[in-house]
């Protein structure tokens, strides 16, 4: 049991949770504050991830020099998506973003570009700079987390990741309490009203798309650095939907929402996986095999995610800890 819980705890604060947390912070800017239906957060994360891995592998850049590449590439992706869609009805943005994310995933998967993107295997060995930058107090040690040991590399990436989470959360907090954030929220409520009051809605939406996209890009960057591999499998459409689940779980349009959501989400997922693995491994308490066995229990987490997302949206749109008085997140 304590093994399960320490797994869950690691799941909640580990690299994957951080990556999804960053993606969720970005998505929260889009969806939570501005009401933009971005269904392509996986695409932004992919852009961020490959913006780190590709220059290091192909042109031997220092990994630190790719930070501006992450920002520029995610911004360009946001502009490309925003220009055709932000003047249209919101469902168009949803369809175009999901399509664009898929386009990028297919593009980096194609064997024709294998020497640039690594195709489906992706890019490895681009993280030497991170390895070499592990500070002395950490180097060569493993950090115990209850019953789990965290390697120095993993710990270092987690520290960098949580720093980014803190940084972007502060930025989002500072922006959203300002009149700028007020305009975003007014667009979420009714963009024609904002227009009639002299607000350049298109520009605000675009800025929001870029800002949230860049944050999502850093999420992808942390993910590939943590996994030491950038491959298309990490950035499937699923990525976006999990990010939505996290945002809704933590509370839409709240600064702490993505953090709370990501930690809870990955804690629950890891614990469930761990328990189900335990209940199907052939010893001790076992689930009947017609329900699930060791070959298929791992799919159950997605059923849980999907069902949880649907139930949350119907019955607790304000999130797990949200105030009942706050209304559903769309009041159209």
């Amino acid at each position: 049991m304590s093994q399960t819980l320490s797994n869950g705890l690691f799941g909640a604060i580990g690299v994957v949770a951080i990556a999804y947390c960053l993606a969720a912070i970005g998505l929260n800017v889009h969806f939570g504050y501005t009401g933009l239906l971005n269904f392509g957060q996986a695409g932004f994360a992919l852009v961020g991830g490959y913006a780190v891995a590709m220059p290091v592998m192909n042109w031997q850049w220092s990994i630190w020099a790719t930070i501006p590449v992450v920002i520029v590439a995610s911004s360009v992706f946001a502009l490309l998506l925003g220009i055709p869609t932000l003047r249209l009805r919101s469902d168009y943005l949803a369809i175009v973003t999901i399509a664009a994310a898929e386009i990028l995933r297919l593009l980096v998967s194609t064997p024709n570009l294998k020497n640039v993107t690594g195709s489906t295997d992706g890019i490895n060995s681009f993280t030497n700079d991170i390895q070499n930058s592990i500070p002395g107090f950490l180097k060569g040690r493993t950090v115990p987390l209850w019953e789990k040991n965290i390697s120095d590399y993993e710990m270092w990436v987690m520290m960098l990741g949580w720093f980014l989470v803190a940084l972007f959360s502060v930025v989002v907090w500072a922006l959203m309490r300002s009149p700028w954030g007020r305009v975003l929220r007014s667009i979420r409520e009714d963009e024609d009203a904002a227009r009639s009051l002299g607000k350049n809605v298109f520009a605000y939406k675009m800025t929001s798309l870029v800002l949230g996209g860049v944050i999502g890009g850093f999420g992808g960057a942390i993910l590939v650095i943590g996994q030491r591999n950038a491959s298309p499998g990490s950035f499937q459409t699923q990525f976006t939907f999990l990010t939505y689940a996290i945002v809704v779980l933590g509370g839409v349009g709240k600064v702490k929402g993505p953090i709370v959501g990501a930690m809870m989400f990955w804690f629950l997922i890891t614990v469930t996986d761990s328990l189900l693995a335990d209940w199907t491994d052939g010893s001790g308490f076992q689930l009947p095999t017609w329900i699930m066995d060791s070959s298929n229990f791992s799919f159950f987490r997605w059923i849980l995610v999907g069902g949880g997302l649907a139930l949350l949206v119907i019955f607790r749109p304000q999130g797990i800890f949200g105030d009942k008085k706050e209304q559903a997140f769309d009041v159209r």
Partner: protein
């Protein structure tokens, strides 16, 4: 050098009595089958000086015995002009040097390969490409008419529509397994079995679609839950259903139990399997029926009225809720049928609906969101685009769906309302 030749000539004369036999065998191994002899292949045998010492042609066993004047080393060269059509000898292996041992003779074995098929000229493939494109477009169209009608009547972008497609195909695959227990699978018997299985699959898809409307969407509309929420709920439901299917159907794609490969029949320049032709016709009939239903029948007119303006329709005495249920049932049945056909084209897999869902969205967006006939036009455009991409960029066929998505975005850039959409200013 001259001296050496003279020397050899001298000895070859003396060795005249020691004639040896050199056996030449020419074979061909078709993929996955036993070696076959190749008859009628001509060859020449030369001695190290290049002089031809023997010639021959293989018999019906693919074998020819030639007599060489002595032991020693000889070169056997296949006359490539005598190879049968469709077979070739790998480059650089046309001739082989063999050692003929005194008293034992020698052997030279040649293995032929499939001749690299003459690259058919692109233009000759165009009719087939267009046919495939239209056919694929029709399949997408039957799937996406439901998606489009649901959007038009309820405003919902239903992300669970892909799973309706999957259910149609998967339940057909499961049912096709039941029917094979007792009887043979080929011929008309197999066709009847598959038809019965398909009906079960389509009924399951219809029931799934209708059940979702009654159990989820209608209550949500009554509670006044917004469209964005409903869209996200549909994503959640899609995940639940998809992974339930993966858990119990398995991750491996399967074919229907009655599936067998067919040979092409030629219609003009187009070679097509009877199966593809039949399913194409079924898709076309289904679409025409839907068009008739929408244009001519009472129920269809009610659907169109609700699509145009739900509030107005309800004030004119149309039972909107009833119409919406009909749309879900109709959409489910069509998606199920589409799934059955798509499962024949590809294989039946747990995530086939999810994979095709984006194509459906691209189709209805291209055609103009919420326009049922737009879905048809958009689907044909997507189907053609995918196949034409694969035809033109034959090196990049894995990116053909990407091409369709890219085309959709470009069309939106220049014609935001889609091909058939009403021009409306939305921002």
């Amino acid at each position: 050098m001259l001296a050496a030749v003279a020397f050899t000539a001298l000895f070859s004369d003396t060795a005249h009595a020691d004639e040896e036999t050199l056996q030449v065998r020419v074979q061909f191994t078709p993929e996955g089958a036993k070696k076959e002899p190749v008859e009628g292949v001509g060859f020449t045998i030369t001695d190290p000086s290049g002089a031809v010492v023997a010639e021959g042609v293989t018999d019906d066993k693919g074998v020819a015995r030639a007599t060489v004047p002595s032991d020693g080393s000889f070169t056997v060269t296949i006359d490539t002009d005598t190879l049968p059509d469709g077979l070739a000898i790998p480059e650089g292996q046309e001739s082989r040097t063999v050692t003929v041992t005194a008293g034992l003779g020698g052997n030279a074995n040649f293995n032929l390969g499939q001749a690299p098929s003459e690259p058919a000229s692109k233009i000759s493939l165009l009719p087939k490409t267009i046919f495939n494109g239209i056919r694929f477009g029709l399949v997408i169209a039957i799937m996406s008419v439901g998606l489009s009608l649901i959007y038009a009547t309820t405003g919902l972008s239903n992300f669970a529509h892909g799973e309706t497609v999957t259910i149609g195909a998967v339940m057909t695959a499961v049912a096709s397994g039941w029917f094979t227990i007792s009887s043979a699978t080929g011929g008309w018997g197999g066709f009847a079995q598959l038809t019965a299985a398909a009906i079960i699959g389509i009924l399951c898809a219809t029931a799934f679609s209708g059940a979702l409307e009654l159990a989820v969407w209608r209550p949500m509309r009554r509670r006044g839950i917004g469209l964005t929420s409903m869209m996200i709920v549909s994503i959640g439901l899609a995940m639940v259903v998809r992974f339930i299917i993966q858990m119990y159907y398995g991750s491996q794609p399967k074919s229907y139990a009655q599936f067998s490969s067919q040979t092409n029949i030629n219609i003009g320049p187009i070679g097509v399997t009877p199966r593809d032709l039949l399913t194409g016709i079924i898709a076309l009939i289904a679409l025409c029926s839907v068009a008739y239903l929408l244009m001519k029948t009472r129920a269809g007119k009610a659907i169109r009225a609700v699509s145009d303006n739900p509030d107005l329709a309800s004030t004119t005495g149309i039972n909107t809720e009833r119409v919406i249920l009909n749309v879900w049932l109709l959409g489910g049945a069509l998606a199920g049928l589409g799934g059955v056909i798509y499962g024949l084209d590809e294989q039946v897999s747990w995530n086939m609906g999810t994979k095709i869902l984006l194509m459906m969205f691209a189709a209805i967006t291209l055609g103009g969101l919420g326009r049922p006939f737009g879905a048809l036009v958009g689907s044909l455009a997507v189907g053609l685009f995918v196949q034409l991409w694969a035809w033109w960029f034959s090196e990049y066929t894995d990116l053909k769906t990407m091409g369709a998505l890219l085309a959709m975005i470009l069309v939106l850039l220049f014609r935001p309302q889609g091909i058939l959409g009403k021009k409306e200013r939305v921002g």
